[in-house]
């Protein structure tokens, strides 16, 4: 290769660098990761007002009445999902949640085994700007306890009848027995 050939190659490499650099200036961000922003005051207010979660009974009601645009998302592992999942649920693991597509009109309900992972997913989606996101506070454990095998009184009240009907709709088996006092039941549900 002569000196002229070398110089020609260098010039073309320089032109290539200029073209790529000019393209870079207008191409946007090369990072793949999504960047979200959190308004911590808004999030704190939402949590304080308990607008961040649904109960298992509320979710069961939404599913039974086929409420429009509700997507129930199971963030657990594939094995756990295959063993048992809430009817109509789809599995999106926590790591893929931020790259999943959700329409602005959809109501998203996340659940995990207990509730912690779903709550973390709730923060991710809120940070990405999704407004209608909830998590199942007590997770699948609450679903199994409150929907699939709820305790109803030996002398059923109207509320017990509604609970039994809801449970039976999902194939559950209401248990006869003493219901835990309301305060105890609420504290137990919060234990996630």
């Amino acid at each position: 290769m002569t000196a002229d050939d070398t110089r020609r190659v260098i010039v073309w490499l320089g032109i290539g660098a200029i073209v790529l650099a000019t393209g870079a200036a207008i191409a946007g961000d090369p990072y793949l990761g999504k960047k979200g922003t959190i308004d911590v005051d808004v999030l704190a207010r939402t949590v304080t007002q308990e607008d961040d979660h649904v109960t298992a009974v509320e979710l069961a009601g939404w599913i039974r009445e086929r409420r429009a645009h509700v997507r129930v998302i199971d963030v657990r592992s594939e094995k756990e999902f295959d063993e048992y999942h809430i009817p109509t649920a789809e599995r999106i693991p926590l790591g893929s949640l931020t790259s999943a597509r959700f329409a602005p009109t959809e109501t998203i309900v996340l659940y995990s085994e207990g509730g912690a992972h779903a709550a973390q997913g709730w923060v991710f989606l809120r940070a990405l700007g999704h407004q209608r996101v909830f998590f199942l506070r007590g997770g699948l454990n609450e679903w199994l306890e409150e929907v699939m095998s709820p305790t109803v009184g030996t002398r059923p009240s109207h509320a017990d009848s509604v609970t039994s009907a809801l449970s039976k709709y999902f194939g559950g088996t209401p248990q006869l027995g003493e219901r835990a006092p309301a305060t105890v039941a609420r504290l137990r549900r919060r234990g996630c």
Partner: protein, 197 residues
């Protein structure tokens, strides 16, 4: 296939070490072919008679930067998984000063001293011996050095963050500076060498 390959589990520790050796050999071979194993050539940098080091190193920076940017942009490289060393202002300034003095005194930098040693040059071997001795001495005296070592931490700082400019704009600016630098280096070399002859 997505990169970084090791970070994303494309291969394990053993394969990663094997690939590292291959890349190291390729890097050394390229440095040697570019004449970087010669202290005489490298010393030309400080007399402005031969600015090859500047041109090779800046070319490498520009090539890697454009490659990383565009691979990231088309989705083949997850830049968030690429490790960025943390900035510690004062210890890195001191380290840079030591590096620069060593470069001027020895005529070789760490990478090129390995190339020189591998090609059987005595000066390269002495520099490699000195480098390892220095590393061992720093390790043994680390408790004394630690306050300096961990002082003035600035976290993982990149040019776009420091300049508050978009990543792509910084890429374009660095390329323009590099091309201007190459042109300037050629001009300086021709002026200095013409005066010497």
């Amino acid at each position: 296939m997505r990169a970084p390959l090791y970070e994303l589990g494309a291969f394990g520790n053993t394969a990663a070490l094997f690939v590292a050796v291959l890349i190291g050999v390729a890097f050394g071979w390229c440095l040697e072919r570019a004449g970087m194993g010669s202290a005489r050539k490298l010393a030309g940098q400080f007399y402005f008679t031969d600015l090859t080091v500047f041109k090779v190193m800046f070319s490498a920076i520009v090539t890697a930067m454009l490659g990383a940017f565009w691979l990231g942009r088309i989705g083949w490289l997850d830049l968030s998984r690429v490790y960025v060393p943390e900035t510690f202002a004062v210890p890195q300034l001191v380290g840079g000063l030591v590096f620069g003095v060593g470069f001027v005194v020895g005529g070789l930098c760490p990478g090129t001293s390995c190339v020189a040693a591998a090609t059987g040059r005595g000066d390269g071997m002495m520099l490699v011996a000195g480098m390892f001795s220095g590393a061992i001495a720093s390790g043994l005296g680390f408790r004394t050095l630690e306050p300096l070592y961990s002082s003035t931490p600035l976290g993982t700082l990149t040019l776009p963050q420091a300049l508050h400019l978009p990543y792509g704009v910084v890429v374009a600016l660095v390329v323009l500076v590099a091309l201007g630098g190459f042109r300037g280096a050629e001009w300086i070399e021709s002026r200095v060498n013409a005066r010497a002859s």
